[in-house]
């Protein structure tokens, strides 16, 4: 009997020992990403992560830039292009562009990165669902030989769009994608593990589509640091977190659990100056680099918004200084009447702005309306010259608190002049579908970000023809043949011919300010709150690290990646 009990005891003890060993070994291989080797970023990903297809909107953030790199990059602060996977790219003749592919670059599966790979990726443009397909239609041939790729255009190329595409087309591994390079799968299929040339690879064990994607430093080393072009990034892991809500993000940031936060956090101005150890690009207002113009979007197919005089009156009635100060706590700057971002300041015609521009002036707004034949009704609000009441809706997505407050202020400003505008807050999808189908009066819109050329802004403002559904450009549905022709002319101007670009944009600016197809309000910032608790050497104005501290899709291949490669552990 007693022997039996002993045996049982023995079994229990040995089982416990076994479990302890298993647990111990699990701990030994450390089930944790060490904090001092990990960079946490957040701000790009809303909702679940949708795999690793760079042509589908919600792909794992960091894919382009950390894994799939681009031929060139663009530095918006210095306004210069950076040779990247291509070591050279130039126009051999006005219609022939020659690329030289850098040697010694390997894909993460060990294969060499070749000129054929580049050709394959450019040729994807033949698929109608690829975003540069219009540009590709003007390409006569793409030929790879040795380490060069020669692209021959049919007629005068769209220089500006080509230049823009060169630093935005991600290089994907042809052997991984070739069976899926068709019209539909190219925007919907996803590989399990992306193959790229970049400094990081996908860490499958850490992937959780609801909360995070983990990137690990590529085990064989990164070509750019081997070639001495870039410092080797210090973080061994980069974890991009899904945004849940502003308060959760703020909590994580303030407790040092997030390093780079690229969200707009309401009230952030007080936190920055409040001693919470948060770093921003500028150490005084506006703290953030300007990233995109926020516009008041009128539906120019609807009366009275089809009248340029009415739109100009509206522009004169809005106090954007007040919005920047009260709503944003000075983390944004009021926009130039041209709508062009400060990065494009050299294109702005200051004389024209003086003559054709606008500023907050309610008296002037009333004057314009009176002159154009608008009269006030018994309720004190203006009516159309035909005597019909004016009652406009202004819509922003529900929950976008900064915009919600802004439209309340706009509505109050307009009321002071005598224009009746009522704020409405539909959910984001409704907002978006109304915008695309033209079923709205007024909205706030800011989907066209900073780029290497003002051409992208004018395409956004003027693109013709107007279709039943406008998905990217000309949401105002503004038909101005002259301005669109000028935009096309701008497109066909080489990116190196700055004088010609200035000449055309000057004409466009005058047209723009006279017509105001959209009304520029303020520059939304490149929201970047950085924590200095784990990593230091963040980009800052006045240092030699003038990089854009932004992890949003499309920004890593600007100088977002330089932000990461220049980080140093804060402990040292």
């Amino acid at each position: 009997m007693s022997f039996g009990i002993n045996r049982r005891t023995f079994t229990v003890v040995s089982a416990a020992a076994l479990m302890a060993t298993v647990a111990g070994s699990a701990l030994a291989q450390s089930g944790e990403y060490p904090r001092n080797e990990t960079l946490y970023m957040s701000g790009a990903q809303w909702g679940n992560i949708v795999g690793f297809n760079p042509y589908f909107g919600n792909f794992a953030n960091g894919l382009i830039g950390l894994v799939n790199e681009t031929l060139f990059r663009y530095d918006p602060i210095a306004d210069k292009y950076i040779d990247w996977l291509a070591e050279k790219g130039e126009w051999e003749s006005p219609t022939v562009f020659k690329l030289t592919v850098r040697s010694g670059i390997k894909w993460s599966d060990g294969d060499d990165f070749t000129a054929d790979d580049v050709k394959w990726n450019i040729d994807l443009g033949k698929l109608p669902t690829i975003w540069w397909t219009d540009l590709y239609k003007s390409i006569k041939s793409v030929e790879a030989s040795g380490n060069t790729v020669t692209v021959t255009f049919d007629g005068t190329p769209n220089y500006q769009a080509w230049q823009n595409a060169l630093w935005n087309i991600p290089m994907m591994k042809p052997s991984q994608w070739k069976d899926h390079a068709n019209e539909t799968e190219i925007t919907s299929w996803t590989p399990d593990e992306p193959i790229g040339t970049g400094p990081y690879v996908f860490d499958k064990a850490g992937y959780d589509p609801t909360t995070r994607v983990v990137w690990t430093k590529t085990p064989d080393g990164w070509w750019a640091s081997k070639a001495g072009i870039s410092p080797d990034p210090k973080p061994k892991y980069i974890i991009d977190l899904v945004n849940s809500s502003n308060n959760v993000a703020l909590g994580l940031l303030l407790s040092g659990k997030q390093d780079l936060n690229n969200n707009f956090l309401p009230g952030v101005a007080t936190l920055i100056s409040g001693g919470y150890g948060l770093h921003t690009y500028y150490d005084k207002p506006p703290y953030m680099l300007p990233a995109v113009t926020s516009w008041l979007l009128p539906n120019t197919k609807k009366a009275p918004l089809d009248d340029a005089a009415f739109r100009r009156a509206l522009a004169f009635s809005i106090n954007t200084d007040q919005i920047a100060k009260v709503d944003y706590g000075n983390v944004v700057l009021p926009a130039s009447p041209t709508g062009l971002l400060p990065a494009w300041d050299k294109y702005i015609d200051k004389e024209a702005v003086k003559k054709h521009g606008f500023s907050y002036d309610p008296k002037m707004a009333a004057e314009i309306l009176d002159k154009a034949g608008y009269k006030k009704g018994a309720d004190g609000f203006y009516q159309t010259p035909k005597g019909e009441p004016i009652d406009l809706k202004i819509e922003v997505p529900s929950g976008w608190s900064d915009w919600m407050q802004a439209v309340q202020m706009i509505s109050a400003d307009a009321k002071a002049v005598g224009i009746k505008i009522t704020p409405k807050y539909p959910d984001f999808n409704t907002y978006q579908s109304q915008r695309n189908t033209g079923n709205f009066d007024l909205m706030i819109e800011n989907s066209q970000p900073l780029s290497d050329t003002p051409y992208t802004y004018y395409r956004y403002l003027y693109q013709l023809p107007i279709l039943s559904s406008q998905t990217n450009y000309n949401f105002a549905r503004f038909e101005d043949k002259e301005s669109w022709d000028l935009t096309v002319q701008l497109a066909k101007t080489p990116r190196t011919d700055i004088d010609k670009m200035k000449e055309i944009t000057a004409k466009l600016q005058v047209n723009f300010m006279d017509q105001l197809p959209m009304i520029p309000l303020w520059y939304n910032g490149a929201w970047a709150q950085m924590s200095t608790s784990t990593w230091k050497n963040w980009p800052a104005d006045g240092t030699d690290r003038q990089y854009i501290p932004i992890s949003w899709r499309g920004w890593l291949q600007m100088t977002g990646i330089d932000t990461i490669t220049h980080l140093e552990p804060a402990g040292e």
């Binding site: 990990t38 109608p128 669902t129 539909t184 919907s188 959760v248 407790s255 978006q432």
Partner: protein
């Protein structure tokens, strides 16, 4: 017994059909088109847009007439196919639910069963004990009247944000690898505490009050008075009272299930907890018909099944039902 069950099953089947139909219809009443939202996420040239829109419309069978979509839905459902998610195309909805379900069940089962058990015990103890009653009753009313998410926010604020004792969000810590290690398991439990506590506490209040009232009622009934008159010990009388008082509480459990599930959904949202509630929220935000349908279908089936179990349990627990049924059958 069998006839009783058959009748019950028939009612459940009917409820199921109606509920599933409503479940199918409601997302489709939402304004806008989910495919538009999907396509506009892919930066496209205008003419490619139309091509891709029609591809996706066909892929989701949304180009068919509504009655056809409805029939397709039933056919697919009977084949165990809940369709593919729109927002996470091409992931099947069953995969998404499979990923989220453990989190929701992990919250729901313990909070429902524990709050019911603890609530009943506390309520029974409180009845006719002045001191305890004076504290349990007001606290119970306060808790049961508290909306789930509000208590959740309160807990997150005090215990998470201010005191920093518990994490504010997610199913496990961001720095932990999702593998079978003690670290991961510990992190799961750590992140589970607050959402569990907010569900548990709200439900607890209701059960405690219900039980207290029932016990007082039972102690004043004839059989209790008779037992007392016979000189039976207090403990014995209370024991009988407790067993009788349990019956309405079991029915109550069935009735409460729906509310608790709803509470769990909003609680998950408060804590960014990656369960079904979190999933259905992003489904609604992206107008993902199939995810919304799938999640609610799961909830419908879950609540109906739980009700069925409670019905069966009731028959076992209450001998009078059994007698009644047998009498009925004879």
């Amino acid at each position: 017994m069998l006839r009783y069950l058959a009748r019950k099953l028939f009612i459940y089947l009917l409820t199921f059909i109606v509920a599933v139909t409503i479940d199918w219809a409601i997302p489709r009443f939402m304004p806008g088109n989910p495919v538009d939202a999907l396509v506009s996420r892919i930066a496209l040239m205008p003419d490619a847009n139309a091509a891709l829109t029609s591809y996706f419309m066909a892929a989701f069978n949304l180009d068919q007439p509504l009655w056809q979509q409805y029939l397709n839905f039933w056919w697919a459902l009977l084949n165990g196919d809940l369709g593919r998610s729109i927002m996470l195309f091409p992931t099947p909805v069953t995969t998404l639910i499979g990923r989220a379900l453990p989190y929701t069940l992990g919250l729901l089962l313990p909070s429902i069963l524990l709050s019911w058990y603890v609530g009943n015990v506390v309520g029974a103890l409180a009845a006719r004990r002045k001191l305890l009653d004076n504290s349990v009753l007001p606290l119970g009313y306060l808790l049961t009247a508290t909306p789930y998410m509000w208590l959740g926010i309160l807990l997150a604020w005090v215990l998470g944000s201010t005191l920093g004792w518990f994490p504010l969000a997610f199913g496990y810590d961001q720095s932990v690898k999702a593998e079978w290690s003690w670290l991961f398991f510990g992190s799961l439990v750590y992140h589970w505490v607050l959402p569990f506590a907010s569900l548990f506490m709200v439900a607890l209040g209701g059960w405690a009050i219900g039980m207290r009232n029932m016990i007082i009622y039972e102690l004043e009934s004839d059989y209790a008075n008779y037992l007392m008159a016979l000189g039976a010990p207090h403990r014995l009388v209370r024991k009988y009272a407790f067993r009788n008082a349990m019956l309405p509480q079991i029915t109550g459990l069935a009735l409460q299930l729906g509310a608790v599930v709803g509470g769990a959904l909003v609680t998950e949202i408060v804590f960014s907890y990656p369960g079904l509630g979190w999933l259905v929220l992003s489904g609604i935000q992206n107008q993902d018909y199939f995810v919304i349908q799938g999640v609610f279908l799961f909830i419908i089936v879950g609540v109906l099944l739980a009700n069925l179990i409670v019905d069966v349990v009731y028959v076992i627990v209450d001998p009078r039902t059994r007698v009644g049924l047998q009498g009925d059958a004879a």
